[in-house]
Symmetry: C2
Subunit: 480 residues, 2 copies
């Protein structure tokens, strides 16, 4: 992997240098990464991108060239530039494992370290978690809409840059896709790469039939033909002919056909009938052409007969909602050797933060196994010891909710402990399974709706709620 340490917003350096010259190079701070809104008005997000954060942090360092670049800006202290020469990340990172279903307002990643190192990783941390969580979540929505259908990620050509193609394929696989078209994603991450032909294959030969024959001869064991280069019904008839004349005499079968234009729902039904009449019940119908979860749902409602979906631009860019707005906020600063909570107030109420370093718990109902609520507590509060306890829904603070018949599970794992990587990165396959398992077994069905889902409870412990209320009141007094 290339060194991406300099993939950082310039203001991280102006701040870091400022902290340095003001004597704060060893002052501890805590930052939390969280997000405010589920994409596409959905009910949840699938956290992803942690592996790339781990690689980034493990490799963080500044070369002589980097230091020279900064020196030429003529605003940085020489002591600070010297400090950067020796810089390595020596802080602590806790994070939810990749594939964890998460909700707005909960810390996906928590960074504890000196304020400089905390700042210098901000940009990349946000970039990787925002991007891959966005795509994994979108893929999951599409795959759920596809039900038993196979979903293939086909979007490289419309991806926003090379990494978006490759890491997007990785995230899409986490979210549930079965394969990708992008070869490099297979080489680098083991996402199975597949593909057959473009329209150019058909156009190249002097007739569609010649093109189909050539392909069937070359790939008798895995022959899917693209049938919409000239006319879909004629193309399908031609595919049947080639199946009968080239494949079946050898004991092979036509695996499938793909349609990439026209009325996909309509033609899928026509073709299903045509293939069935010809004893080709096993010939799969694959469709592509700007599909997403909404179109997929609509095609199902119309009784379309589709076996697999090639999903391109609308997945790889998360077209319907292409920004995942994760933020990274300072929640505590060391003062006289003690971490003191910090709050950000804002004219936009939803931008007010929850102060203090928090622990994220998920409450699972002991009977159903459903993870029905998340709770944020202070570090010293241990919900996992069982028993019953009170939490507060910050939107309805007058209700003190008694928790019972529940198991509380701490969702974050320690990734780096004082600079040392202490976490074993799971295999991609296992991350994907983890997603599937949660969706099938522990997420409330009502949270899975594509729109208007049940809003997951994210409650505060009474202690955190008190700290927040007190800080808001004090800030209010100061301002007046």
């Amino acid at each position: 992997m290339k060194n991406l340490t300099m993939l950082v917003d310039f203001y991280e350096f102006t701040m870091a240098n400022g902290f340095y010259v003001h004597g704060h190079k060893d002052t501890k701070a805590v930052f939390e990464m969280f997000y405010r809104k589920n994409p596409d008005r959905g009910g949840y997000v699938i956290a992803a991108g942690l592996e790339q954060l781990i690689d980034f942090v493990s490799d963080m360092h500044f070369t002589e060239e980097d230091i020279d670049y900064l020196r030429k800006k003529r605003i940085f202290d020489e002591g600070f530039l010297d400090y950067l020469k020796e810089f390595r990340f020596r802080g602590t990172i806790e994070a939810v494992p990749e594939g964890t279903i998460v909700y707005p307002g909960t810390p996906l990643v928590t960074v504890t370290g000196n304020v400089i190192e905390c700042q210098l990783l901000e940009t990349f941390l946000l970039l990787t978690i925002n991007h891959q969580s966005l795509i994994a979540t979108k893929a999951n929505r599409i795959c759920r809409a596809a039900g038993d259908g196979i979903v293939m990620e086909f979007g490289a050509r419309r991806a926003q840059g090379p990494d978006a193609a490759v890491l997007g394929a990785r995230a899409a696989y986490i979210g549930g896709c079965h394969a990708t078209a992008t070869v490099l994603a297979d080489q680098m991450y083991g996402v199975n790469a597949i593909g057959t032909m473009a329209h150019s294959w058909i156009q190249f030969f002097s007739s569609e039939e010649e093109a189909f024959r050539a392909y069937a001869e070359t790939y008798p064991d895995d022959c899917t033909l693209l049938i919409d280069t000239y006319d879909i019904i004629k193309g399908a008839q031609c595919a049947v002919k080639v199946a009968k004349e080239v494949l079946e005499p050898k004991g092979k079968r036509l695996k499938g056909v793909r349609i990439d234009s026209g009325d996909l729902a309509y033609f899928s039904k026509k073709l299903r009938a045509l293939f069935d009449e010809n004893g080709m019940e096993d010939c799969k119908i694959v469709v592509s052409n700007s599909i997403d979860e909404w179109l997929l749902n609509s095609m199902k409602t119309q009784g379309a007969r589709i076996d697999s979906y090639g999903i391109g631009e609308r997945l790889i860019t998360a077209k319907s909602d292409p920004v995942f707005g994760g933020v990274y906020k300072l929640v505590a600063v060391e003062e006289e050797g003690k971490l003191t909570p910090r709050i950000k107030i804002s004219e936009n109420e939803e931008k007010i933060t929850n102060p203090g370093k928090k622990v994220l718990w998920r409450l699972f109902n002991k009977t159903s196994g459903i993870g029905y609520a998340d709770v944020l507590t202070l570090e010293e509060e241990h919900l996992d010891e069982g028993g019953s306890f009170y939490v507060i829904d910050p939107k309805k603070p007058w209700k003190h909710i008694l928790i019972d018949n529940s198991v509380a599970v701490r969702l974050q794992k320690t990734i780096f402990d004082n600079g040392k990587l202490v976490y074993n990165k799971p295999r991609l396959e296992d991350i994907r399974k983890y997603v599937k398992d949660q969706i099938e077994n522990t997420v409330w069905e009502e949270e899975l709706r594509l729109e208007n889902p049940h809003v997951h409870y994210v409650d505060l412990s009474e202690k955190i709620y008190q700290i927040k209320s007190q800080m808001l009141q004090e800030a209010g007094k100061k301002l007046n």
Copy 2:
């Protein structure tokens, strides 16, 4: 740069292998890359991403590891894999220079070579041109809406992967942005990187005033303060105080303040008045927070007093229309030593292609200098020799349009000539100037509207129109 040769759709390999085993490894083909619709219902696109295509093509090769990977798929011919070992791109690429204003249906890139090499670069070609043209175009829309205002690209944290941040900053600069927050884009491409502080800087200190003082002391020559961490008006008053007490006694000025939340238009007016009352007419007002060309226009209508804009997520992802749908289509194939036109027909009429290798000309009015129409001709037709000639608008083919008082300029340059790079990549600065020059001098004002622009004329020479009509008729007969 990392070798991205394997960033390719798997079907390029199945097709390439198929062409190889069917004896077509030396058969010539011509592919054209074009797009069908301007993003955001705009009037034009700024072509970008060619430099990365050049780097990619120059470096195209397959390693032993790549060959092994393919061999393990057990579907590729050993002769083909041997062929890949020696593979280098030896074809010809013609393309419009980066920064060229382009229109739907015109070839941005034309690739002539053996059909295998033409296929193997498809994915990357589309990816780089699609991505950077999308962002350059979006940036240009935003910068035009900003008028004299300074536009800074701030989006790395919401970019779709590391490359999207860095190459996105490059493309945004081409489109007209003045600077970026992304340091790596400065190091790699010379896009000036700038930045001051995040909310965390303010929260870190025990008061906003202390934070402002610390920053002003560290950066007296370039001090922009973020004023919305607690309360915008109080923050602005505090900034005035610090300007008076820390900066002005040293003969320095407060360069600006930034607002990142709240009602930006309203507060910009309030703050302008406050600063002016305090003799700080030179203090700039910078705003950020999910801004795009529409919001920018709306703030202007409201009389907002804003000097510069930090544009993040809505630019770096082109949020309102994040897919640029460039395609790459086979237009001619060698038959008996001669290039023969190919057409793709489709159930979707807009997907029917213009057959044959085409030359793209722009007609400039000799009096006004406006580039008022594009014309596609065959290679042997030379419009630049002046004189008058007829063209056909394919939407109104009954009109034969006489061209006169015009200079015809061939827009594509030869980039690779039989595998040899013959093009000098222009400096980024010059690409940006080229964009500015076209927008100011040669593009019809009516094409610059954000919405409902004049639709640029893209006409065909009579010869091309005849070939297309004939091929469509023949195809129609064949199908019936």
